[in-house]
Amino acid sequence: MKNKAKYYFQINTSSGVPIYRQIIDQVKTHIATGRIKPDTFLLSVRQVAGELEINPMTVSKAYSTLEKEGVLGYVRGQGMKVKMKSHARADLKKRERELIPLLREVKVKASQLSLQPKKVIDLLKALWEE
């Protein structure tokens, strides 16, 4: 039972995005960034549900969707294992696309505050170096 992924999902229950989709997205992101390595076991449905205080069905729905997509594979008696290799650099476009909606929000807010793009980029850089 080694190689259990130790990480936390950050779930926002009052977001408009269904909770199971938040979990799916975060598993994929963690894999993409290499935080979860291939062949690692995810925490069990019960553990995740208990930790996040959400319905176990929600977690198992996320896991089984990921299984269908070939991201995870079920190993009898041991749980869900990460099958997918972490995104190679070739997937850069895809990763970029994921960030676009968030950046769009930033753009809207920045123009409301009449902040120039250059200023926004500076702020972002500063955050990065924190």
């Binding site: 205080e53 319905n55 176990p56 069905m57 929600t58």
Partner: protein, 292 residues
């Protein structure tokens, strides 16, 4: 039949001259945590009472755990747990006494569970029931309904008088129960944030009918708010299926729709040459939109 904990078919119920439920059908799958939403006075309590056979229906049919609620078998009653909206029974008894009294009605009683819940919720078993606060009394009623480990739990506004900490405790307890054993939980509420955490299915009761019934995730996928900015005047020509509400000026519109699909966004963008932003709505916002 066996797949549903509660099944209501074409149920009608009048209270006096008022139709509360009209030709209403609702099926609650076994093992689900099912939330019933509706405004005050929508008929949530009446629906629950019908399902339990506490009031007679004028038309239609209901089964509870495969049994007729008007004439429940002893066995079925042992499998049911129900907490009404407000009920303070026997104020002269102590917490301990009312627990023993309740336990005596059931062939199975999990004393250990009851005591750990009393402990979790800071209830003193020597306190008199009549002296408990509204919230404490509600907690006690919930505990009493859990003691015999029922297969079907029905709560009418279970968290209405609980403080946020107690509400969390309640949700935790429910989640623990449904992950430990096969149990269906059906509860009414208007506190949507609680529902969002635990429920996998919801039904919305509106104008004596079920307006939506299904998975919470599906509801969230299907009800969206769209912000449309078009180069042309769009104050006249918005023909969108599933439109719930629309607010617009010349070039901009904010609309809410049900039955949303990603293709819809593309179609409208093409039709109006517009830019559209799709906004996800949480359950509270959906509730407000659907009740417009």
């Amino acid at each position: 039949m066996a797949d549903f904990a509660i099944e209501m078919k074409n149920v009608s119920k009048e209270l006096g001259r008022k139709k509360v439920l009209r030709d209403l059908s609702l099926a609650i799958p076994k093992g689900s945590v099912f939330g019933l939403l509706g405004k005050n006075g929508a008929g949530k309590t009446t629906l629950i009472k019908c399902a339990l056979g506490l009031v007679r229906i004028q038309a239609g049919g209901i089964t509870v755990l495969g049994d007729d609620p008007g004439n429940l078998h002893e066995d079925t009653k042992q499998k049911l747990g129900y907490v009404p909206q407000s009920d303070r029974i026997y104020p002269w008894l102590s917490v301990k006494q009312i627990i023993n009294y309740t336990a005596s009605f059931y062939s199975h009683w999990n004393d250990q569970l009851v005591h750990s819940l009393l402990n979790d919720w800071d209830l003193d078993s020597n306190d008199k029931v009549g002296l408990l606060s509204e919230g404490q009394a509600q907690m006690l009623m919930i505990i009493l309904a859990l003691g015999h480990e029922p297969q079907l739990l029905i709560f009418d506004e279970p968290v209405a008088s609980l403080d946020p900490a107690a509400r969390r405790q309640f949700l935790k307890t429910i989640l623990k129960i449904v992950s430990d054993r096969e149990c269906t939980v059906f509860f009414s509420t208007h506190i949507t944030s609680d529902l969002e955490r635990v429920a996998d299915r919801v039904a919305l009761l509106k104008d004596d009918k079920i307006d939506f019934c299904g998975e919470l995730d599906v509801l969230k996928d299907e009800v969206k708010r769209l912000r449309i900015v078009a180069p042309v005047d769009i104050s006249e020509e918005l023909n969108i299926s599933g439109l719930i509400f629309c607010e617009r000026s010349h070039h901009e519109a904010i609309i809410s729709v049900r039955g949303f699909k990603p293709e819809m966004k593309i179609a409208i963008e093409k039709q109006l040459k517009a830019e559209i932003e799709v906004e996800d709505l949480n359950l509270e916002e959906i509730f407000l939109e659907l009740n417009r």
